[in-house]
Amino acid sequence: MNWAETIVDLLKKWNTSLIAYVPDISIHRVTSLIEADPYFHLVSATREEEAIGIAAGAYAVGRNSAVFMQSSGFGNSVNALASLCIPARVPIPLFINLRGGPGEFNIAQVAMGRTTRPILDLLGLVHFTLEDEYKMDKIVDGALKLCHANRQPVAICLTQLLHGGKLA
């Protein structure tokens, strides 16, 4: 099972069937699996904070949800996390393609990519970073369990070292 299949498998294990996202080429491998699987409803948002709102709405009526985005889009979603998910305790797993690490080719992706995890720390949100598939099933499974136990968003950062990234 590759990294993308592992994520899909664990989303199902945690009954997470509404996925809101903003398209991203590096994590297209996992979101295309989700789109092709009738278990899921994949919702395209126009912007990452909108995806957080859609996912929070699903959770509010009893359906587990998750969000996929890129680290640049994480910057667009900070107030949604800070003023909705944190005070209302909405447990949304955030799968973030973390830019700005080894192999980054785009200068415009570096600053937001490098500040994503410090911002998560300042918000008090737990995050895990995946650089390879070793133990990733245990890490993602544990992250989803923690997310629901703590009723707060948890970020799972997917790096170029894991998924291969976008070629310049």
Binding site: S44, E49, G53, A60, R89
Partner: protein, 185 residues
């Protein structure tokens, strides 16, 4: 038309259906008009009211009502495009349109200078739309929206009034009791 009397009218017809309310006076007046478990009050996240309602509508067969505002929706016009893309039959968006950012000092919003949110909705493939200026017209179209498939997008032009006291709302409790009302079914 005053937002509070319009909110009272909506509660007379809503039954057990869920409502999401925009931050500020919309949430405060919904609480004063009639607190209920199925009111999802928002207190921050400006712009996300109808996005939250979209996520709900895609996840429950019940009809979901969003009470949004012109200033907030202008912050997230993409929400209208996503509703048009998803075409949820069970979503009713009501926009309280006072053509201003009331709480920040009554600055004129874009809807007071030509932006027509009903036309935006129409151009995003939302088939059932209306703009109403009095309570009777709103009641008529809102009752139709509760009974007939949507998505519906209703712009209700309102006059600003004195603000009511801030509602004593705890976001964590709001989500807990709202969600519980769905889990218990």
């Amino acid at each position: 038309m005053l937002r509070f009397e319009a909110t009272q009218m909506i509660l007379r017809h809503i039954g057990d259906r869920p409502i999401v309310s925009n931050l500020g006076p919309t949430t405060d007046e919904l609480w004063h008009a009639g607190h209920r478990d199925r009111n999802f009050y928002t207190y921050g996240n400006m712009g996300l009211c109808s996005s939250i309602a979209l996520g709900m509508a895609l996840s429950t067969p019940e009809k979901v009502v969003s009470l949004d505002g012109d200033g907030s929706l202008l912050m997230n016009l993409g929400a209208i495009a996503s509703i048009g893309r998803e075409q949820p039959k069970n979503l009713v968006v009501v926009v309280w349109d006072n053509e201003q950012w009331g709480q920040t000092g009554h600055q004129t919003s874009h809807t007071g200078l030509g932006t027509d949110l009903e036309k935006v909705a129409q151009s995003c493939s939302i088939g059932h739309t209306a703009t109403v200026r009095d309570l009777e017209s709103l009641e008529s179209v809102f009752c139709q929206a509760l009974e007939e498939d949507g998505p519906w997008f209703i712009v209700a032009k309102i006059d600003e009034a004195e603000y009511m006291p801030v509602a004593p709302i705890e976001p964590e409790m709001t989500l807990y009791r709202f969600r519980n009302s769905f889990l218990k079914q």
